[in-house]
Amino acid sequence: MSHDMSPATPREILICTVAGLLDGCRCVAVGAASPVPAAGAMLARALRDTAGEPPLRISVLGSEAHNFFTNGSAELFDAAGQGRIDAFFLGGGQIDRHGNINLVGVGDYPRSAPRWPGSFGSGYLYYVVPRVILYREEHSPRVFVEKVDFISTPGTSEPDVYRPGGPYALLTGKALFDFDKDKRGFRLASLHPDHTLEEVTAATGFAFDHDPDPATTPGPDAATLHLLRTRVMDELSETYPAFAAELRARIQTTDRKATA
């Protein structure tokens, strides 16, 4: 890490992890109000440009500057159905051991309490986008449950169901998981710095595979961190001003701590 830069904040490590998950993608779509995935996609695009590699197309829904669609809100789904969207992000009020996602609410449907907004495009995109990255920063047993109360969209499907897409990774504030389609379950890929296997096991309401001594999620190299804090931060500020400001403040806090 370069001398004049404070170390990566936890959020920055998440953003860099997202960028890594998009390796090899040609086109990535990001839902509205998803600043970390958007930042990760923007970072992946910037890294690609810097390396002189083929460009990464990004569409951030609801953004005017970073949205290239011109056929209304149906176009994302059409493009995904055509196989043109390589990666998409989904969250979830609940996510269970089989990768089922609940975006609808807790309790007996339809009278859910709490009720969450709803399933958005998940009931389609999870089936057709090859690399669906589950992103939920809160890593707690109320989010990661044994069985969701409502399946907005299932993690896996019967063999005769058309399903080129599905879960590719699960990224939380504590760890990164892969998804094993055959075993229909998650496998711990790495723990973020300062998090332990015990902590993650306790915070996860379902069992998952893991190495006895899991790897640590790598932080960015100096060049990547620099790119994130310059070009990507500028792009982010345009679309997510509040998030970018908070990210900047955290970096300064870390900075002060580091120099203290």
């Binding site: 809100s73 339809p110 907004p117 907005s152 969209t153």
Partner: protein, 269 residues
């Protein structure tokens, strides 16, 4: 508020089905306030494909019987409080969908066919709770291939807000083509606009590309800042503070009533 907007709102019958667009595509908020003043009741809302403050206000005002939507949310301002309360109380019928299913239903209506096939959905509780969605074995496949059929959605009325219309009733919708889908599918389409222009929109190929022809437009009224507090592309940004103010007020029945009442008072003044 212009009485023209009330003239428009009065054309929506109680008990009818109304299609409304997503937050960023031109939400007819002035018309929403007029509907609340008029008290049009027992509406079924079709959110294309998600709803926000418009749906939440109409639900809070007790004017909604059923909602078909992929989500209802106030975006950055959080969940939709009146929608969430109504769900908890069981006071509205829910037709939970996923975005492309709503687009598929409108597309079926646009194409004049009874249904559209759609991938996805199989194994979800969305499908399980939608008896109107049918799973068939794809007749064009030689191997087993279950696929969902989404029936056509024919809204009685589509309402939205757009930057401009011309004197022939052509409306400029730019690249917000979900507005065209809504209008194609609906029996009538009522549009508020920022302004009426003298130039015929279809006479200029550049403007024509983003124009919904008057064939699909039943009536138009001017409503300046008619999407407020939502934004309108190329015109004004979303007033996030006002939406946050609403989100806070609408957490309680009283707060919501005050918000609506203040709004009415302002209109009457």
């Amino acid at each position: 508020m212009s009485t023209d907007v009330h003239r428009l709102a009065a054309q929506i019958a109680s008990g009818s089905t109304v299609a409304v667009p997503v937050d960023y595509a031109g939400v007819a908020m002035a018309m929403t306030r007029a509907l609340i003043e008029i008290g049009t009741s027992e509406l079924t809302l079709i959110c294309v494909p998600t709803g926000g403050m418009q749906a939440d206000m109409l639900i809070g005002a007790g004017q909604v019987r059923a909602v078909e939507t992929s989500a209802v949310s106030l975006g950055e301002a959080g969940g939709a409080p009146r929608f969430n309360a109504a769900v908890r109380e069981g006071s509205i019928a829910l037709r939970d969908a996923t975005c492309p299913a709503i687009h598929a239903g409108l597309m079926a209506a646009q194409k004049g066919v009874p249904f559209m096939p759609m991938r996805g959905l199989i194994g979800s509780d969305l499908l399980r709770n939608r008896p109107d969605w049918t799973v068939i074995d794809n007749p064009t496949s030689e191997t087993p291939d279950p696929i969902v059929l989404i029936p056509a959605i024919h809204p009685d009325t589509a309402i939205f807000h757009a930057p401009m219309a011309d004197r022939e009733g052509n409306v400029w919708i730019g690249r917000r083509r979900e507005l065209a889908s809504m209008a194609y599918a609906a029996r009538q389409t009522l549009v508020t606009v920022e302004r009426i222009v003298d130039k015929r929109l279809l006479d200029d190929e550049t403007l024509a590309a983003g124009t919904l022809p008057g064939l699909y437009v039943t009536d138009i009224a001017i409503a300046e800042k008619g999407a407020w507090p939502y934004g309108l592309w190329g015109e004004y940004p979303t007033d996030q503070e006002e939406i946050a103010r609403y989100a806070k007020a609408a957490r309680s029945d009283d707060g919501f009533a005050d918000y609506i009442g203040a709004n009415k008072a302002e209109v009457m003044a």
